[in-house]
């Protein structure tokens, strides 16, 4: 069974703000995004029969919005959960489990108003075998693979910093981006050390916000106001729960599998991708994605970023909203990568590219724990 061209995004929106919002709780951010996306689709909540979300319970989201669904998916595997939700929604629609799927994200990552918690009990495996060593959230765990990549492939600090510089250049073009001042490689390398080899400007932002998507069967997609964005290829996988269990610290197995599945389903080549969104929790995450998804060979991402090929004017436009590094990062950023793919394919992006026919949104969950890849197209004959 293939999900190729089975479903389409007909509604997509973010919360009114994606910056710092201490005046809204996390569940309200879900709802605001959902209502904005339904308005974008010209629908009401009564049209929705499938509810998918992460962070908060889909049951709570349904209750809060006043929806009685026939399909529920609370897959919550970190920031790529929404890529998995797109895949699951397409499958559910194809199987007849629902007709209109609503995927929501809301997170009070910065202000922590009504937010879900981090960390588990001291009896968990992480509590026994990682937390006693002073891990302090993603900046100390997600970053552990970097030195191994540097050791094996000669990746440099300047190359790592280049990712942040290229991404900031897109944010300069996006009025909604939180960080818009130009930066240089030196600025990045002179910013505060968080966890060697990672500096402050190589870490994502921490913000409050949300986003939502509405999907229907491809054959219904033209019945709604906005240009449909079709699901062309999908993939998902997971590798480990604790970073210490990563199989090879120079590559993400989950990234590779999710990407291979998505390209196989889409039936297109890497060179057919016009626009890319690779979840950038830290500067190295898009480097690992570029390699694992097969756009460059193993170990070749450093020179690619250093040459500014992903920046405005480059031949591989990446993270054109400004990314998690400069646009917004609520905690589970994957929804915002999907939103920018949809905007580019509709022609609505702040830094709109010409002639975008395909876009890939690749997400990471946890700290290389899980991965989801979605390839979209706006071509109904694809």
């Amino acid at each position: 069974m293939s999900l190729r061209m089975s479903a389409a995004v007909v509604g997509a929106a973010e919360t009114d703000s994606v910056a710092v919002q201490p005046d809204k709780s996390e569940i309200q951010l879900h709802a605001e995004a959902a209502l904005n996306a339904l308005a974008d689709a010209g629908m009401s909540k009564d049209d929705v029969d499938g509810v998918l979300c992460a962070g908060q319970s889909p049951v709570l989201v349904a209750e809060y919005l006043g929806i009685t669904p026939t399909f529920i998916d609370g897959t919550s595997v970190g920031g790529c959960s929404f890529m998995l939700h797109v895949r699951h929604a397409a499958a559910a629609i194809q199987a007849g489990l629902c007709k209109t799927a609503l995927i929501t994200h809301g997170q009070s990552g910065r202000s922590r108003v009504g937010a879900g918690g981090w960390g588990g009990s001291r009896q968990t495996l992480s509590g026994q075998f990682e937390e006693p060593y002073g891990v302090a959230g993603p900046p100390t765990r997600f970053t552990i693979p970097i030195l191994r990549h540097m050791h094996e492939y000669g990746t440099t600090h300047e190359q790592l910093a280049s990712v942040a510089v290229a991404t900031r250049r897109w944010a300069e073009r996006n009025p909604r981006a939180m960080m818009r001042d130009p930066i240089t490689v030196d600025d990045v390398l002179q910013s505060r050390m968080i966890a060697y080899p990672v500096h402050l400007l190589e870490c994502c932002l921490v913000t409050d916000g949300g986003g939502a998507l509405v999907l229907v069967a491809a054959e219904r997609a033209k019945d709604f106001p906005k240009r449909p964005v079709y699901v062309l290829g999908t993939g998902e996988s997971s590798e480990h729960s604790m970073i210490s269990m990563m199989h090879d610290f120079t590559e993400s197995r989950a990234f590779k599998i999710a990407g291979q599945l998505a390209f196989a389903e889409a039936g297109i080549a890497r060179k057919d991708i016009d626009h890319a969104m690779f979840y950038d929790a830290f500067a190295h995450t898009p480097m690992f994605a570029l390699e694992a998804l097969g756009f460059v060979g193993k170990g070749e991402s450093g020179p690619f970023f250093e040459a500014m090929r992903t920046a405005p004017g480059g031949d591989f436009p990446l993270n054109t909203n400004g990314g998690g590094l400069s646009y917004t990062h609520t905690g589970m950023y994957g929804m915002f990568a999907l939103q920018e793919s949809v905007r580019q394919l509709r022609g609505e992006a702040a830094a709109q590219l010409p002639d975008v026919r395909t876009s890939i949104a690749h997400g990471v969950g946890g700290m290389f724990h899980a991965a989801g890849t979605i390839i979209f197209t706006n071509d109904d004959r694809a």
Binding site: G127, F129, P132, G134, T140, I144
Partner: protein
């Protein structure tokens, strides 16, 4: 010494923590496929065989990759900067730990550095395996 969030053993991990209190690095090996593995569980993560055994690892390993934490976890502020490392044990498995007994600076911590286990005694009878450069004085 940092104020660490201390582990609470579970039935599957108790042998490890009891070994640690005797300064023995107890890990497991599969009798079916022969591979040593970490962390504790009563079957082999490689081949699912339940025919597994505990043994005492040599405590020798190499620095596989690491970070030097400057923005410390709660309880670790006075200890920063500190090293969180992935140690490749001589027997094969990877284990997270801290590298101690050396100045936490990149020039002293080349990837591949030989390490050996050292123990940090905690309250509740827990001893934590840490690693120091091989041959250095405790």
């Amino acid at each position: 010494m940092p104020k660490r969030p201390l582990p609470q053993p579970t039935p599957e991990t108790r042998e490890f923590w009891e070994g640690a209190s005797r300064r023995e690095l107890r890990i497991q090996r599969c009798r079916g496929c022969g591979r040593a593995y970490w962390y504790p569980r009563p079957f082999c993560p490689n081949c699912s065989s339940k025919d597994v055994e505990w043994f005492t690892a040599s405590g020798k390993g190499r620095l596989h990759t690491y970070v030097i934490v400057h923005r410390a976890a709660p309880g670790f502020q006075d200890w920063a900067p500190y090293v969180i490392a992935i140690v490749e044990l001589e027997e094969g498995p990877h284990m997270m730990s801290n590298v101690v007994g050396i100045e936490p600076a990149p020039e002293h911590l080349p990837v591949g550095l030989p390490l050996e286990v050292t123990w940090e005694q905690q309250e509740d009878g827990i001893a934590l395996p840490l690693f120091r450069p091989a041959g250095s004085t405790p």
